[in-house]
């Protein structure tokens, strides 16, 4: 099969799940006639019709509320946020109603909320967000953030089939920039399993989404200096694959976390706490974080570049840690 883009992988996952299961429906702004702001749902309306590909008013709370209500009758709605930044508009509906339903009144809400996230494309402060940590702090969600077309397709299929609300973040920098050959037949990637992208022994670099590629780039440069970094792609932030993280850190004894989310309260902080709790005696150096600045995402290319982590920043931090 010809290699496909990250975006096409997502489209295929939705298309195939809708074809296989009539309970799967798509609801969001401009997902129908227009095929989605990024064309992730192109062709779905023609194939599945108005009842299953639902264009809505600009009402994020209503989109999530309706998706949740539909799920109570046994449907599996996929709700699209045109940009994931707009998920803030339905924060209440998600965190208070959807996330708490199973715990409080035994009401599972098998919905997937997905949308384009992340910076590096000059989207400015309202079209570049990584809001995953708002939701990681809310018990009840599963949180998925893939980095490759293969994973995007397999993880989205798993998310649709899961009985819990899943927040599925699609880094828009990756949409058309990476391609990969993927199997033609139906496959899934399980939620909650990290993957070792590159083996190494001097330090572990944990990352996900676009920063996973940045970390691999840095690892190449480190190898030329004789530093073998083990690069782990977290893939799912909730549940977090502690087993893979701990196994790697117990081997390398040093840990660097790279994420595009802002630094304070990012997933690195949580991983740092886990390592203190469960791998304190295995650490031969401080946990190091490479993350975005604690500011809104600025617009000007020079500012955004300063804001975001990059391979050079990862390389420098990793080299210093390896030599610690």
């Amino acid at each position: 099969m010809a290699p496909i883009t990250f975006l096409e992988a997502i489209r295929q996952a939705m298309f195939e799940e809708m074809a296989a299961d009539p309970t799967v429906v798509l609801i969001g702004e401009d997902v129908g006639v227009y095929g989605g702001a990024f064309k992730t749902s192109e062709g779905l309306l023609e194939k599945f019709g108005w009842e299953r590909v639902i264009d809505t008013p600009i009402s994020e709370s209503a989109i999530i509320g309706a998706a949740c209500g539909m799920s109570y009758l046994g449907l599996r709605p996929i709700a699209e946020m045109q940009f994931i930044d707009f998920i803030a508009c339905c924060f209440n509906q998600l965190t208070n109603f959807v996330a708490k339903g199973h715990y409080l009144w035994n009401a599972p809400a098998p919905i997937v909320v997905r949308g384009p996230s992340g910076g590096g494309v000059h989207g400015g402060p309202f079209h570049s967000l990584n809001p995953e940590m708002y939701f990681l702090h809310t018990p009840g969600f599963k949180i998925v953030y893939p980095s490759t077309p293969y994973d995007a397709k397999g993880l989205l299929k798993s998310s649709i089939r899961d009985n819990n609300p899943v927040l599925f973040f699609e880094h828009k920098f990756l949409y058309r920039r990476i391609k990969e050959e993927i199997p033609a037949d139906d496959y899934t990637v399980p939620l909650g399993k990290a993957i070792v992208r590159r083996e190494g022994r001097h330090l572990s670099i944990l990352s996900y989404a676009a920063m996973m590629h940045t970390s691999l780039e840095a690892a190449e440069a480190l190898a030329k200096e004789g530093i073998e970094a083990e690069v782990i792609d977290l893939r799912t932030l909730m549940p977090l694959d502690e087993e893979t993280i701990l196994a790697s850190v117990k081997k390398t004894n040093k840990c660097l976390v790279v994420h595009e989310d802002t630094k304070t309260g990012g997933i690195a902080a949580e991983i740092s706490a886990i390592l203190f709790e469960k791998a304190f005696h295995d650490l031969d150096g401080p946990l190091v974080r490479v993350a975005s600045l604690d500011t809104p995402v600025p617009y000007a290319p020079t500012l955004e570049e300063a804001f975001l982590p990059n391979a050079q920043k990862v390389f420098t931090a990793a080299r210093d840690l390896a030599r610690f």
Binding site: G49, I63, G69, L73
Partner: protein, 426 residues
């Protein structure tokens, strides 16, 4: 000319229906009186929110629903829960945080639901959220061919939330079978409705959504029921969402702790004279539907029932502490086997086989009532679905169809598979 409709002259109900309405109102009040006593005995763990004086709204509206229909009550709609079939013990155990409660002590008050059997969606404290949720319920019901109606309640206070607008607008644009009861009890906690909303009838806001609305005396249970019943019928027939404003008065404070001293004495006196149960008793006596003996029987039936239910609740254990950590996630089919109840042909919805075109088959979808005369094509229901992916390039410009211009003859898609759609109909 008023925007909202007045309810039609109440038609005659059957004797049983008249007595049912009375029974449930009395039950509603007695359940709450029992809980007030439990509260004073310090047996209610958290807050207690009374609906004294508003029983006709909860009971009359919920009584219009069928078993297959769905509802999402608010905190003061205990009467609606009872009508739908919730046993009083569930309400007692919820308030007392017992392990035997529907939420096993995880939440209190009337915050519980029942997806599988009674079709009740749990309320949450953030007001307005249930309107889009119940819109989704109605949309899914239509998609599955179930011919259900979804009903939810909102207060005068809750009608000021943004999600009230988002929900009603989505419901209107989807022509969802949704009935919203706007229970105007004149007070949002301590703020009178006059200081929240600058219009006389809250139901008149329906006009802005292109949907129908009613204003009804919320202390007249027969009027509430007949109005709700007409609305439910219209919604079930595909008429789109309907907003009913029931005008009533909250006779207790926001919750037990609140003496409601901000309420003018004259206002309270006026409404106390209009107690919905007393008014209805007078009506039933005049119509010779209820005499002193019959009333005694109902009273003793309720007393016996509630005594048993209260005892069950009081004797129930608190939840074991270890259950606090359980149940955040559904663990899979062994936890919940989620299967929709199809009442139409599923093969209509699977990818079309060669030669079968996917088209929208629900009549009138997307055509709200226009603000002037006739029907205005206001939404995408008027855009014909493309015949197949290859023809995508020839799709009409959607924007040309999104302009709300009056049209004598709205464009509609040909319901190619109407025949098969009817197969699943009841």
């Amino acid at each position: 000319m008023p925007v909202s409709e007045s309810p039609k002259k109440p038609q005659k109900l059957s004797r049983q229906q008249y007595l049912d309405l009375y029974y449930y109102m009395r039950l509603n009040r007695e359940v709450e009186e029992t809980m007030t006593r439990l509260f004073r005995q310090n047996k209610i763990v958290g807050g207690l929110y009374a609906s004294l004086g508003q029983e006709a709204v909860s009971v009359g509206s919920a009584y219009a629903l069928e078993k297959r229909d769905w509802m999402a009550p608010m905190i003061r709609n205990i009467g609606a829960l009872l009508v739908k079939g919730v046993p009083p013990r569930d309400i007692f155990t919820q308030h007392m945080a017992k392990y035997t409660s529907p939420t096993k002590g995880k939440d209190g008050t009337s915050h519980f639901g029942d997806l599988g059997n009674l079709h009740i969606v749990s309320p949450i404290s953030m007001l307005g959220d249930l309107i889009p949720v119940m819109t989704g319920v109605a949309m899914a019901g239509r998609y599955l061919g179930q011919k259900i109606v979804a009903m939810t309640w909102i207060g005068d206070g809750g009608s000021s939330t943004g999600v009230f607008h988002e929900g009603l607008n989505l419901a209107a644009s989807q022509k969802a079978a949704l009935v919203v009861i706007l229970e105007n009890n004149l007070w949002a906690y301590s703020t009178p409705v006059r200081r929240q909303v600058p219009i006389e009838n809250l139901a008149d806001r329906a006009k802005a959504y292109g949907i129908s609305s009613y204003v009804v005396d919320g202390n007249d249970v027969v009027a509430v029921y007949t109005t709700a019943q007409e609305a439910v019928e219209r919604a079930r027939a595909g008429g789109g969402p309907i907003l009913i404003e029931a005008k009533t008065f909250r006779r207790r404070g926001h919750a037990q702790h609140d003496p409601a001293e901000y309420v003018p004495k004259e206002q309270r006196a006026y409404w106390e004279k209009r107690d919905p149960i007393t008014l209805y008793e007078e009506f039933l006596t005049k119509e010779k539907l209820l005499d002193a003996k019959g009333n005694k029987e109902i009273e003793s039936k309720i007393r016996t029932l509630l005594e048993k239910e209260r005892e069950f609740a009081e004797n129930s254990p608190m939840p074991p502490p270890e259950t606090a950590a359980q149940g955040v996630y559904c663990t899979g089919p062994e936890c919940h086997d989620l299967q929709p109840k199809w009442e139409r042909q599923i093969d209509e919805l699977l990818p079309p086989k060669s030669g079968v075109e996917p088209v929208w088959t629900i009549e009138g979808f997307g055509r709200g009532a226009s603000s002037s005369e006739g029907n205005a094509p206001i939404h995408f229901g008027d855009v014909p679905a493309a015949a197949n992916p290859q023809k995508r390039a020839t799709l009409p410009d959607p924007s040309s169809n999104l302009v709300a211009k009056p049209s004598k003859k709205p464009v509609t898609t040909k319901p190619a598979s109407r025949k098969s759609a009817k197969k699943g109909a009841r």
